[in-house]
């Protein structure tokens, strides 16, 4: 990208990604963009290289103190884990294997790429009302009308949706105190933990809230209490390397032996 002699002024791919973050529809979409940059057939993509690029992006975003959505962080943790699985010799009891995980991710990227491709092809077709036209002055014939009234399923569903909304709006609701509940945090953590097999900081699981705001503080408190609940239930393990140090969480391993 930089044979013009100004290589040092060129932003790194990770910096470019941070700038373009708004253009992506989530981490998979971004991974696909990174994969395209490898300029090889998606079936021959190096998942390892891809993981490195993605982790570099997250590191760069952190350096710029950019708030990343939880999905991006979960993906980073997952890719870091995948990378370790790919680099360390496979243990027979590991299921699924690192190769299987990499293949599944490659498949997901190929499938999304295929859909983006056909979406573009579809939209490039001659379209009715834009490229191709129907009879401009139809003559009103008694041909196909099974019904005098023209009502579509959309009209019907929209009417019901509108009715429901009006009805909801007319009921007075007492606004509950806006706090993060422990129940929600437990649900949220349990769901996210299912996808991250290795030690991760509690901080990275927190929803995006301004630090110090009431929501931010209640989210932290609720998630901390939730990890204790989950640890008590034997679903997660907790670790803290020193006082005031980060709290690490991981999914509980089956007891060995």
């Amino acid at each position: 990208m930089s044979d013009d002699g100004f290589a040092e002024d060129q932003p790194t791919p990770a910096e470019q990604l941070v700038v373009a973050l708004d253009g992506f529809e989530g981490p998979i979409d971004m991974l696909l963009a990174l994969a395209r940059d490898q300029k090889v057939d998606l079936t021959k993509i190096s998942i390892l290289a891809l993981a490195d690029q993605y982790l570099a992006f997250v590191a760069e975003a952190r350096k710029l103190r950019l708030e990343l959505a939880a999905d991006y962080l979960v993906m980073a943790a997952w890719l870091a884990y995948l990378k370790s699985r790919l680099l360390i010799p496979e243990q027979p009891e590991d299921e699924p294997s690192g190769e299987d995980m990499a293949a599944a991710l490659a498949f997901q990227l190929q499938r999304l790429e295929a859909m983006k491709g056909v979406a573009a092809t579809l939209m490039a077709r001659p379209r009715l009302g834009i490229d191709v036209f129907a009879r401009g002055a139809p003559e009103d014939l008694d041909i196909q009308r099974k019904s005098v009234f023209q009502v579509t399923l959309y009209d019907l569903l929209k009417a019901y949706g509108d009715h429901k909304r009006r009805k909801d709006a007319s009921v007075l609701h007492m606004e509950p105190l806006r706090l993060y509940s422990i129940e929600d945090a437990v649900k949220r953590l349990a769901e996210m933990m299912g996808r991250i097999p290795d030690w991760t900081t509690l901080q990275s699981f927190l929803p995006r809230e301004p630090a110090g705001s009431l929501m931010g503080r209640s989210a932290l408190a609720a998630h901390f209490a939730a990890t204790l609940e989950l640890a008590k239930a034997g679903q997660v393990e907790l670790r803290q390397d020193g006082a005031f140090g980060p709290i690490w969480v991981r999914r509980a391993r089956p007891v060995e032996e």
Binding site: A69, A70, F133, A134, R135, G136, A137, E139, D140, L141, D142, R145, K146, S147, V148, F149, Q150, V151, T152, L153, D155, L156, L157, K158, A159, Y160, G161, D162, H163, K164, R165, K167, D168, A169, S170, E175, P176, L177, R178, Y180, S181, D184, K187, R188, E191, M192, P207, R208, E209, P210, S213, L214, M215, A219
Partner: protein
Amino acid sequence: MVIEMVKDPERVEAKIQKLRLLEALLFASAEPLDEEVLGGRLGPDADVRALLEELRTHYAPRGVNLVRTGAGWAFRTAPDLAPLLRLEQEVSKKLSRAAIETLAIVAYHQPVTRGEIEQIRGVATSKGTLDILMEHGWIRPGRRRETAGRPLTWITTDHFLDHFGLETLRDLPGVDDLRAAGLLDSRPVLYGVSAGVGDALPSPDEADEE
């Protein structure tokens, strides 16, 4: 297409393209088009009148004719076919919003009595609304409710399913499906903030007011 004594293949091709464009323009237009407008679309070197006459000749024996009306040129179905086409006098009507909503409520809440429909909608239902839906074959009376006054209930018909392309009533999208599809705008989530709904979170200002 009738091609006159033009021998140069390129000119023949150009003429055919002009005739095709003329045909498409006249077909797609909602209004008759006059020769000036058509000339503007065909280019300065087109003999619009001659091309129109050629099209008119081509279509004269067919089921669709090219006719010249006061304002311009237009395709019309051949007049001799009118009795076979049975032009429909009645213009399709739009169903009132109240009627669509009532139909939706019968569909979702059936069997449902008129009193219940009114309770659900929060307004009185005119007798005419249910009559229109029934005349149309979308709803029919069901069993009487075994309560005081034994009120009649209303249910949807097979014709209802047919009209809306549903195989069974179970295929009607549920409230959650409607919300997910965006047909039921829900209020912002105030409580139970969870992953994936980041957009709906209250702004920090609001949150601090408590």
